[in-house]
Amino acid sequence: MDKNYLDTVRNSKPTQFGILLVLFFALYHLVPHNDGNYFWRLPSLLKGIPLAINNVIFSALYDWFPLKVWDPIFEMYEEKAAFREFTKAVSQGLLFLITFVRELLLGGDKIIDVFVSDAWLKENDWLSWPALPWTAGAVGAFILGYQLNGIRLGLLGGIGAVYIAIFGNWVPSIQTLSFVLITTPICFVLGLSFGIWGYLDKKVETALQPVLNVMQTMPQFAYLVPIIALFGLGDHAGSIATIIIATPPMIRNTILGLKRISPEVVEAGLMSGCTKSQLLFKVLIPTARRDILNGVNTVIMQCLAMVVIASFVGAKGLGLNLKIALNSLKIGKAAEAGLCIVIIAVILDRFTKAWANKPVDYFENLTLFQRHRSLVIFATAILVFSIIAFIANGYFDKINYLYIIPLEKGLTIAHYIDAGVDWVWDTFFYTLNTFNKFLLTQVLGPMKKAYLGMPVISTFTLAMGVAYIVGGLRTGLIVGGMLLFIALSEYWDRALITMYMATFAVLMASLNGIIVGSIFSQTERGSRFILSVCDFFETFPSFVYLIPVIFLFNITDTSVLIAAIIYATVPATRYTVWGLKSVPLSLHEAGTMSGVSRMQRWTNIEIPIAFPTIMLGVNQTVVFSLQMVILGALIGTEDLGQIIFGALSRTKDGAGVALTLGVFVSLIAISVDVIVRKWAEDRKKALGLL
C-alpha cells in the first residue's frame, strides 16, 4: 500500500468509522455464541465485589474502632463501634430536626416528649403543640410570594396551598415540605463548603470531579440499601439519600459561580486590603450569589424529585401516598398525590428563583413597622385563624375542618380521573394494544435480541474504537477500562438490556428534541415559549412521568421507554434551542444576503454551528434516559434496575449489589459523556466557538 493512501485513512474520520463498523459486524457474526468462549462473554471474575463491599460495611458498623459506651439501662460499659455510634447520632439528629419542623406545623407532642418524661406527659395530656390551621398556612404562602415578587407569585402560593388543603393532602404535603425544609439547608451548607474548598484548592477540585460525576449519574435506587444498612429506616434515611443526590449540583454551582467571577474583582478585593476570610465572605460569595442561589433551587427540585424514592426507606409524606396508590394501581389517587408534588415543586421553584433575582435595597428608609409589615400581618393571620379554628371546635363534631382536612374527607377528583382513564382504556384499548404489540414484537424485541447477541469483543471494539477515533488512545483506554469492569461481573447481560433501552430512548428523545427545538427556535417568541415549557416539565419529579404510561401500556418495556423518551426530550430540546440561538447574528445576515431559503439556512448554517451544543444535550438525554430506565424497575423491567431494586430485599449482600450495579450504570453514562464531551469540545474549537 502506498504511503499517501495510509495517510488518507489516518486523517479521514469517516473512513475510520467505516472500517470500525465493518470490523464490528464481522466480529458480531463470526464469534460463536458459546459460554466457554471469552470473545463471547468474559468470565465473571469480579463476582465477589458486592459481598466484599457488604463485609466492609458490616465490619465498619460492628467491629472497627470499638468505643466504651455507658449503657444506662444495664448500668455497664458496652463495646460499640465508633462508626455505628456516628451513624446513630446522625440519624437521631436528623430525625429530631424533621420531626421538630413537622410538629411545629402539624402539631403533636413528640418533641415535647423529648424534653419531659413519658409519665409526666401522659398525666398532662393537654400538653400538645397545636397544629397550624391550613388557612394560616395559605395566607403565609401568599404573603411570602407577594413579598418576593408581587401579587402573581402571592396568588400562586396562596391558591396552591388552598388546593392542597381542600383536597385533603395538607398533612402529607407538610410532611414532605418539612422534609425539604430540613434537607435543603444541609445540602446548601455541604455544597457551599465543598464548592468553596474545591475553588480554593485545585487538587480538591480535581479529586471532586470524578466523585461528583459518579454521584450524579448513579441511579438513586442504588443508594437506598446501603443507607438502610447504615442508618436504618425512617424519614432521616430518606433525607440522607436525598442529601447524597442533591449536594453534587450545589457543589458544582458553587464552583462554577466562584470561577465566573472576573479576576479583576478578586484583585480589587485584595487591593482593598481584604484578609482571606474577608475576601471569601465579602467579595467572592456575594459576587457569585446568583449562581449559588440557583444551586439552592436545583437542590430543592432534587429533594422533591426524591420524595417517592425516599419513601422506600421510610420517608413519610406525598411520596409514600403516591407509592401506595401506584402499587395498588389507583391511578386517580396517584395522580392527585403527584399533582400536589408538582404544585409544591412549582411554588418552591418560583419562590427561590424570585429570591435569587431579588435585588437587595440597602437604603430603604422604612419605619420598624414597614420593614416588618409582612411578619406582623402573618403573625396576626396565624392568631386570627387559630382563634377562629379554636372557636370552631365547638361547632364541628369530630373533625375540625379549619385546622386540617383529612385525606378521606377532602375533595377528590380521583374517581373522575379513574373514569377518564377507564374510558381511554375502553375506547383505545385496541389501538394502544396494537401499537404496544407492534413496538414490542417488531422493534423492541429484535433490538433487545440484537444487543444480547452481541459478543463482548465486538461491543468493546465498537465502544473503544469510537472513543479512540474521537479522543485518541487515552480516551479509548478510559472507556475500555470502565466497560471491562462491567463485563467482568455477572451482570453483563443485564447491562446490555439497560443499554438497549437507553439507546432506544436516547435516539427517540434526541430526534424529538432536535425537531421540536428547531421548529420553535425559528422565532424569538417561540424559543422563549419552548424554554419555559422545558422549565415547567423539569419541575416534574421523574416518577410522575411513569403514572400515565403504566396505565396506557401496562407493565412492559414500552411504558418505561415512553416515560424515558418524554423525560429525556426536555434536555434535548433545551440544548437544541440554546445551540440554535448561539448562532451569531452576523451569520444569519450573511446567510440572508446569500439568499438562503429557510431549509437551507437550517441545514447549512444553523445545524452545523449548533451541533456541538446539541450533542451536549444528547449527552444529557443519556443521563436522563438511564435514570428513567432504572426507575422503570419500580414497575418491572428486567435490566440492571430490577436487580438494584431487588437488592432492597437481599439481606446478605444487598448493599454491595446495589452499590456495584449503581456504579455500573454510572460507568455507562460516564463512558458516553467522555466521548461526547471530547467531541463537542474539539468541534467547538474547530468552529472557533470556544
Binding site: T275, V283, P286, F363
Partner: protein, 337 residues
C-alpha cells in the same frame, strides 16, 4: 530623597520551572528559548524608580507585560526574581499580614473593567476598603460621601453598578481606590473600556484630581496619545522588556529603538515638544516686547510666536532669560521639512 517605588532586575516568568531556568541562565532571558521550555516571559529585567508625586505611564501593546509589571509591584502576582522597594521596604519579603497592611494604608488601584462589587451600591463600594480595614460604618460612609463628591457622582450614591454608565462606573472605581487616601496609586488601563469622548473627559478629570492630590502614580495604558498626555515619564514595553524610559518629549525626539520610533512617527510634535527643545542660545537681537517660558508646549504658544515675526526671548521658571526662539523653527515643527 529616596524614590517611592524602586525596582531592580524584576522578572516575571510564568511556568513550572521558571525559577530554575532563570538561575541557570543567570538572568539572561531569551523569550523564544524560554517558550520552548514551556515558560512564558511576562516581565524581563525591569529596573526603574518612581519618585514621590511623579506619574510614570507604562505603555505597551497587549501581551507586552505592562499589566504583569504593575501586578508584580502591587504583589497581585509574585515576581519570579528581583527587588521591589516601596518606601525603602522590599515588598517581595513581606508576609501576608504586612502586605494587607501595606495595601490598606498605602496603595489604591483602578481596574480596566471597573471590578465593582455587583451586590453593593456606589456608596458601599467606595466605603468597602475602609470597612474591611475596620473603620466604623458611620465614618466610612462619611468618607465615601466625600469621595462621591470628589469624583462628581453626587446624587447617585444609592445606585447599583449595573445602573451606571461605563464612565460613571469608573468614577466609582477611582473613588474606591482613593478612599483610604493612599500614597501610591495604580491604574491599570482605567479608560480603555470607555468610548473615545468619555475617555477624553475622564483623562481631564484625572489630571484635575492629580493636580489636587499629587499622588505617586503608575498608570498602564496601550494608548500612546494617552501616555503623552498624562505622563511625567513614559516606560515603553515590548515582550516584557522596557525598551525606553524617558520624558515624553525625549521619547518623541530621540526614540531609542525602531520599535519606539514606530509609535512616535505619527505623533504631532507640536503637541509634545516644549519650547526648550527647539530654542537657540541667548540672542541680543531678540524682541523685547514679551518673553515665553521654556516649559510651554509648542502648540499652545505657536500662534503668538508666529504673529510676532521676530526672534523672541525664552525664560526659565525664575524669569531669567535662557535662550531665544526663531519663528522659522516653529514653522519647521508645525509643517515639517
Amino acid at each position: 530623597m529616596s524614590p517611592t517605588i524602586s525596582c531592580t532586575s524584576v522578572y516575571k516568568i510564568f511556568g513550572d520551572n521558571a525559577q530554575k531556568l532563570l538561575s541557570e541562565n543567570k538572568g539572561k532571558v531569551d523569550a523564544a528559548k524560554f517558550q520552548e521550555a514551556g515558560c512564558i516571559v511576562g516581565v524581563n529585567d525591569a529596573s526603574f524608580d518612581v519618585n514621590k508625586g511623579e506619574m510614570l505611564v507604562v505603555m505597551g501593546l497587549s501581551g507586552s507585560g505592562k499589566s504583569t509589571l504593575l501586578r508584580c509591584i502591587s504583589r497581585l502576582t509574585e515576581a519570579t526574581a528581583g527587588k521591589i522597594l516601596v518606601d525603602g521596604e522590599d515588598i517581595c519579603l513581606m508576609n501576608n499580614k504586612q502586605l494587607i497592611e501595606l495595601r490598606r494604608e498605602k496603595m489604591g488601584m483602578v481596574f480596566q473593567n471597573f471590578a465593582l462589587l455587583p451586590h453593593k451600591t456606589v456608596l458601599e463600594n467606595i466605603a468597602f476598603p475602609l470597612q474591611v480595614k475596620g473603620v466604623t460604618t458611620d465614618n466610612s460612609i462619611q468618607k465615601a460621601l466625600e469621595m462621591v463628591e470628589l469624583v462628581g457622582l453626587k446624587g447617585r450614591e444609592n445606585y447599583f453598578p449595573r445602573e451606571l454608565s461605563g464612565g460613571q462606573q469608573q468614577r466609582v472605581g477611582i473613588a474606591r481606590s482613593l478612599a483610604v487616601e493612599p500614597d501610591i496609586w495604580f491604574l491599570d488601563e482605567p479608560f480603555s473600556a470607555l468610548d473615545p469622548l468619555i475617555r477624553k473627559e475622564m483623562q481631564d478629570e484625572f489630571l484635575r484630581l492629580q493636580s489636587v492630590l499629587n499622588k505617586t502614580i503608575m498608570f498602564v495604558t496601550h494608548d500612546f496619545d494617552e501616555a503623552l498626555r498624562l505622563a511625567d515619564r513614559i516606560a515603553i514595553m515590548k515582550d516584557g522588556i522596557i525598551e525606553q524610559l524617558d520624558k515624553p518629549d525625549n521619547i518623541v525626539l530621540n526614540p531609542a529603538t525602531d520599535y519606539v520610533k514606530r509609535f512616535t512617527e505619527d505623533v504631532p510634535r507640536e503637541k509634545v515638544l516644549k519650547i526648550e527643545s527647539i530654542m537657540d542660545g541667548v540672542d541680543p537681537n531678540a524682541s523685547s516686547d514679551f518673553a515665553i517660558s521654556k516649559n510651554e508646549i509648542i502648540e499652545t504658544v505657536a500662534e503668538k510666536i508666529l504673529n510676532s515675526k521676530e526672534i523672541i526671548k525664552v525664560t526659565d521658571e525664575n524669569s531669567n532669560i535662557v535662550g531665544s526662539i526663531n519663528p522659522s523653527k516653529v514653522i519647521k515643527v508645525l509643517f515639517g521639512g
